[in-house]
């Protein structure tokens, strides 16, 4: 596809979008995994919330 004389700027804009969106997805997923792991670790040690008893 011919993107004209300013192809570099268009590609850069889409690259920026890809980087920012994937950074968001990455942050959300990594955060989720870390939290799940920490909660599982604490629960394995016997910590329970009052409502679960």
């Amino acid at each position: 596809m011919d993107l004209g004389p300013h192809a570099g700027f268009i590609v850069a804009a889409y690259a920026a979008a890809a980087i920012i969106v994937s950074a968001l997805v990455f942050w959300v997923v990594i955060d989720y995994r870390g939290l799940e792991r920490s909660i599982a670790k604490l629960e394995a040690r016997g910590a329970k919330r009052r409502s679960d008893r």
Binding site: D2, L3, H6, R49
Partner: protein, 244 residues
Amino acid sequence: MPLSELANPHRFLRLVRVLIPALAMLALVLIGLGLVQGFRAPADYQQGEMVRVMYIHVPSAWIALAAYTLMAIASLGTLVWRHPLADVAAKAAAPIGAAFCLLCLVTGALWGRPMWGAYWVWDPRLTSVLVLFLLYLGVIALWRAIDDPGRAAKAAAILTLVGFINVPIVKFSVEWWSSLHQGASVFRLDGPSIHPSLLQPLLISAAGFVALFFALHLAAMRNEILRRRLRTLGILAAAEAEAR
């Protein structure tokens, strides 16, 4: 489903387990469709191929504004109705809104360089979005500064609302300011009204961005709920260890 039913975090977590993948798929399909249609459409007679940047630039600007509005409504939810998920929603929206605001600024700069000859011009719209970005960063900084979640929620809610009231004033001021400095010499974007062959992919892409935002937002809300559960568990574990 009434909003009060969502107050139960367990029910909310069960619901988002279904919603997040569905919204993510929807976002992927819509953005893909929008981009394919957008790149097939003929190039703009004035902007040429550069108009392709619009399909990400304009939706991210909309999302940046909508996310702040969502934060303001959620802040009302925190302060007035005291809905337990309201501050979770407000906190989760802030970094995502800021990211879309940044994306809007970056793509705008890359669009501006070939069109206006500069990466940045102090145009009222650009300047307002920049101030919005600063407001986002301020809210995020406040959330991070206060470690008690309940207290941080209330402080951030007040700041969000004050910022929300200020957005129109800032908009008015920068418009007044730039009319003083630049006048008619500025190359303005709002030239010819948009052609349907460009509008349709834009709207599809924007719908995809909305789905993407909500997928990310719900995931971030889930993380926040888990983070608070972890905090409670940690405090309980510490208390028990002390009791022993």
